[in-house]
Amino acid sequence: MSKFLPLWPDQASTMASQVDALYIYLLLVSGVMTALIFVAVTVLAIKYRRVPGREAQQIEGSTLLEITWSIIPLFVMMTFFVWGAVIYFEERTPPADSTEVYVVAKQWMWKIEHMEGQREINELHVPTGQNIKLIMTSQDVIHSFFVPAFRIKQDVLPGRYTTAWFNATKPGRYHLFCAEYCGTQHSGMGGDIIVMEPQDYARWMAGGTSAPLQETGKQLFSQFGCATCHRFDVQGRGPNLTGVYNKPVLLEDGRTVIADENYVRESILNPTAKIVNGFKPVMPTFQGMVSEEQLNALVAYVKSLSQPPTGTAGLQNQPATSPAQPQNMQVQ
């Protein structure tokens, strides 16, 4: 990318070339359309300019022409729609094997937490060739995570998680911008995405000393007393959380929801919003007691309870029965 007069952004993710290909198609179609209109207007305006002794010829119109120039653009636009929707679908669907990174935005900085426990501010180190899923939330107002070189952008909202993903292809240092206006230092709320070769990344990652995020979450889980009710050995007052993540949960009111990150988050902050079928609304809210970072750790821990046992997460029992629907605790 020319540093003097950049005309095209760096292509540094698997998505970039796909978005650019569609953009070039749109530019070509639009260029042809614009040229057609400009040439038609210019030629007609000169050819039929006012000269003495020549009158305009009245023409009523033509339904055939109207239909033609409605249908053809509509057809062309549908190609825009379909191609755009295909790319968008991919942009919004993180692959299952993604490495997760938690992002907390606040006025005016980006706080990054890796699963391994590495923390960064306004910088995100990632290896090439790996799918990275960002799980993002804001501590205050709406922000937006924008990396032009990856062609990704996702608003980051307070009170819920939004996600984005990318797979970086080219080592280098790329701009991270906040793209949703967020107050005084909005334009200063930037940072760098540092893409490294996998071996360099491993070396960088080894430099850290902090515990993995889910371990922090496990400590918090007992510190906040969650383990008292959410037991793994016998049925407690709350549901057993083993294997819950990303599975359907039957609620008291008969609805079924998927226990995704936002569900886990809401269940901590606003436990009475969605009561699992068979349980009493006895859990106190943790709103205002846990920070966004602690929440992320707790969510990461709950998610780790649904991964195949690796010996790190506190898995005492294999989920033989569906843990989301306890059979023995029907509260009358």
């Binding site: 006012r50 729609f81 996702q154």
Partner: protein
Amino acid sequence: MASIGIPANQAPKTNYLNNGHSLKSWLLTTDHKRIALLYLISVTVFFFLGGFFAMLIRLELLTPQGDLMQADTYNKVFTMHGMIMVFFFLIPVVPAVLGNFLVPLMIGAKDLAFPRINLLSWYLYITAGVLFLHCMLTGGVDTGWTFYTPYSTAGSNTNVVEAGISVFIAGFSSIFTGLNFIVTIHRMRAPGLTWDRLPLFIWANYATSLIMILGTPVIAITVVLVAVERLFHLGIFDPRLGGDPLLFQHLFWFYSHPAVYIMILPSMGVVSELVACFARKRIFGYKFVALSSIAIAVFGFLVWAHHMFVAGISLYAAMIFSFLSFSVGVPSAVKVFNWTATLYKGSISYATPMLYAFGFIGLFTIGGLTGLMLATIGIDVHVTDTYFVVAHFHYVMVGGVLMGYLGGLHFWWPKISGRMYPEGWAKLSALLVFVGFNLTFFPQFILGYVGMPRRYWQYPPEFQVLNVLSTAGASVLAVGYLLPMIYLFWSLRYGPIADANPWNAAGLEWKTTSPPPTFNFDETPVVTWEAYNYDEIPQKELEAPVAR
């Protein structure tokens, strides 16, 4: 020809301009033409105020560092620019100035249906404007014109409530204007002036009025909810209070997307009038152009969430709104094709209003096509909230709306003022506006695609060259906008006297004197002809009228 009413140079002694000279005769007038002039003066003041803020923005962005003003000041400056231009200029400009002046004249009526409500509209507008100026002078507001929550309800420490109230009041001004136009167009058309004989400018204003009365109440409710949450901490939009920030965006864009059509539709109506007159032809596909205005008004209400593709709405909601957004593309394209086709076998004059119409077609084409790019969700993710969007909506809202407005103002200036404007200066200014506009905003498309976010006070140094180009263009554009103000003002005293129909144009407004009498027509006209019956009106050999 039977359709030529009043001979040239026989203006009656009293017209709407000299019928009363006291301040009271202006401020308490119920004459739609005088109210149009009150609007003309007030929107012009707001336009130059908004333009002043635009120049401050462009000057700050001349260098990558934030050096001309503080970050907070810059945030207020772009907020003021946006709010003034959207709520106090673009929304009222064509309907309230040209529409007010022309709707009764074009349909052969003495006035609008509710002349006093019309005056009330202007007073509401002025009240809102004064309140906004007060807000501006006592610290301003920094939320961006979009008032996004929770920043506007919990983050900003500026005077959001006062700005919100002024938008609320301005909204009612626009609701009353819409109501007035709809009733007038339904009930007060001259005998024989059936719907399929209406000028396309009337169709466009009718469609606009529908949006005004159906959409504006929603923005009014929305700013009230913002004020309520801000003042009483009632959880509506702020998640910390149990609210939903996306709810705000849905409500806001439910009005603010159709509002774009409130701005552009009347200008499209103007362009139809100009193309017909200066090509001496009936508009090609009249019926399709008329109905496309209604189609734009209807489809315009179904596309709002295309502003929210990265905001956190569901994948499938995004796809549906992307699909629906393309539906607006068809009637817009139909208009452009029909204007172009009207030129075929015409007798085309290059008078200033027509130059503006050409400019409109060019800029609107680019604005519309880049709108299709934004509706394409895979692309929108990358370019939304960048300068690409800024460039796109300036092409539509400034390139489009202002080209139409200035074209219309020049075209009807002899009717409004009774004087001709200086054609040479006018052509120069049309050229400056076109060149300056493209130089200002075209680089911003590139800037957006390479990744510069909007509302940035400082930016990485590699974006500087494109920003310098844009600022250079803005200075040319500023001259292009200042010139008409000077020479139109000059022409009020020194311009050649205009006759009743200096362009030999079709349309009832040209069958009364210039300027028209207070009640427009001495006798109610009876219409026996189709709109744009240019085959029955002799054309002038010269492209522009000269002083006699």
